[in-house]
């Protein structure tokens, strides 16, 4: 068990180290966050719509769009350098490889999500009076579910002639429960509603995240094999 966790961490650590040397994905996702915030600001006529009313929705959509942008490159490095063959020959269990990738992506996307909340809170003067722990749980489970699905499908997209443009087509329909429960819960928390109104959402998000992390880990072997 400990060896397994160590393997998962090894994969994640490698990806994170590479990322923190080049900052490629983080730069893209970070710039995306701020720029989208800017564009949203110009696209919303604050005389007609209060940005505070739709702040949570904008946040979630930005996380999703930025996430797709960043996650598409999950396996790019392995494909380009032919490292995949090497990894497949090593005795690492494929589900551990998947979970390691998911963990790495989770860290990166969580960082982006935090940035989104900060930037959008700043740009749209969003005030938060709810329970921060619950918010972290909501975003955490949401990001995990998103990352699991996207990691699985990005392995497919890398082999497709459509490349990364296939990813949104595959992933977006499946994200509906995530958006429904996540955005609604976030909106309620921002509106200062009691935690009780949100607990069901947290459970559903957790169920979604667990289901697709496990399913992804099991199905990954069919996706990664030659």
């Amino acid at each position: 068990m400990r060896a397994y966790v160590a393997l998962v961490w090894a994969v994640a650590r490698k990806d994170l180290l590479v990322e923190f040397r080049t900052y490629e994905r983080l730069t893209a996702m970070g710039a995306f966050t701020v720029l989208v915030g800017v564009l949203f600001n110009f696209s919303i006529d604050s005389a007609v719509v209060r940005p505070q009313d739709i702040g949570a929705a904008l946040i979630w959509m930005t996380i999703i769009f930025g996430g797709i942008l960043g996650m598409g490159r999950t396996f790019r490095l392995e494909e380009e350098d032919g490292a995949l063959a090497g990894i497949l020959q090593s005795p690492i269990p494929l589900d551990a490889l998947f979970l390691g990738k998911v963990l790495g992506n989770f860290v990166l996307l969580s960082m982006m999500a935090a940035l989104v909340f900060f930037v959008f809170g700043l740009f749209f003067s969003l005030s938060f009076s709810g329970n921060p722990v619950v918010l972290v749980a909501i975003v955490g489970f949401g990001v995990l579910g998103f990352v699991s699905l996207t990691t699985l499908f990005s392995a497919m997209a890398t082999r497709s002639s459509m490349g990364e443009s296939l990813l949104p087509v595959l992933v977006f329909p499946l994200l509906v429960p995530l958006v429904v429960y996540g955005a609604t819960a976030t909106q309620r928390l921002f509106a200062g509603r009691p935690v009780v109104e949100v607990s069901g959402n947290v459970r559903m998000l957790a169920a979604f995240a667990v289901l697709f992390t496990v399913a992804g880990a099991w199905l990954f072997r069919f996706v990664i094999e030659e």
Partner: protein
């Protein structure tokens, strides 16, 4: 099933299907009375839920066959899944078009985010992803596996999507006076027509599913023959 038996089955199912469709059309346009609350547009309802039923049947086949295909690797399961996906795509499209056609008159808008229509739209795109992944993957064997994974994930997610969309809808009980769930004044003749509609669609689905599956079998046989020009490989029917 031998080739001859399959062709017989397709022929019989097809004939029965077309016959039932003709009967259905006669019933819908000449026999069944107009429903009192919805009026003439309610006649779309004799094909609309039947289309949904077949779409979900197709999708169920995709999910089941995809899962077992990944497990066993039998080509026939993949072919069955594709045939099911084709059926699902066709009938989901029918549902997505007949729904708003009914809805424009009944609700006053072309589109409503009501759970079934929403689910159908999402389902359509999951099917689209299934086919895209198959066609755009360089290695066709890999493409089949990828598509199967899409099928399995899709089937896992659909119940969640349905629950979430229904829950969201329940938060905003808009005054949809004529919603598909509300009880219509169903006379016995209407119930019968509904039944005939379901039967007709199921028969047509079965016939075309089998036909598509069989043709896929021939195509596979051809591919094997191309790969082994001198060999004596025969694909199983």
């Amino acid at each position: 099933m031998s080739h001859k038996q399959t062709r017989w089955a397709i022929g019989i199912l097809g004939t029965l299907g077309v016959a039932t469709m003709i009967v259905l059309h006669w019933m819908v346009f000449f026999w069944v009375p107009t429903e009192s609350t919805m009026g003439i547009v309610q006649r779309i309802f004799y094909i609309h839920p039947a289309a949904w039923w077949v779409a979900f049947l197709g999708f169920g086949i995709v999910g089941l066959c995809s899962a077992v295909y990944l497990w066993l690797g039998d080509e026939r399961l993949d072919r069955a899944a594709v045939a099911g996906a084709e059926a699902g795509m066709v009938f989901t499209t029918i549902g997505l078009i007949t729904g708003p056609l009914w809805g424009q008159v009944a609700w006053g808008t072309w589109w409503e985010w009501e759970p079934r229509l929403t689910l159908a739209l999402i389902l359509w795109f999951i099917y689209l992803g299934y086919f895209l992944v198959r066609r755009t993957t360089a290695n066709p064997e890999q493409g089949k596996r990828f598509a199967a994974v899409v099928g399995v994930i899709g089937v896992l997610d659909i119940p969640l999507i349905h629950v979430s969309v229904t829950w969201l809808r329940s938060l905003h009980p808009e005054a949809v006076i004529l919603n598909p769930e509300s009880p219509m004044n169903l006379e016995r003749s209407m119930g019968l027509t509904f039944g005939v509609g379901f039967l007709a669609f199921t028969l047509i689905f079965a016939c075309l599913f089998l036909a598509s599956y069989t043709v896929a079998g021939y195509e596979y046989e051809l591919k094997l023959r191309d790969a082994n020009p001198g060999g004596t490989q025969r694909a199983e029917a």
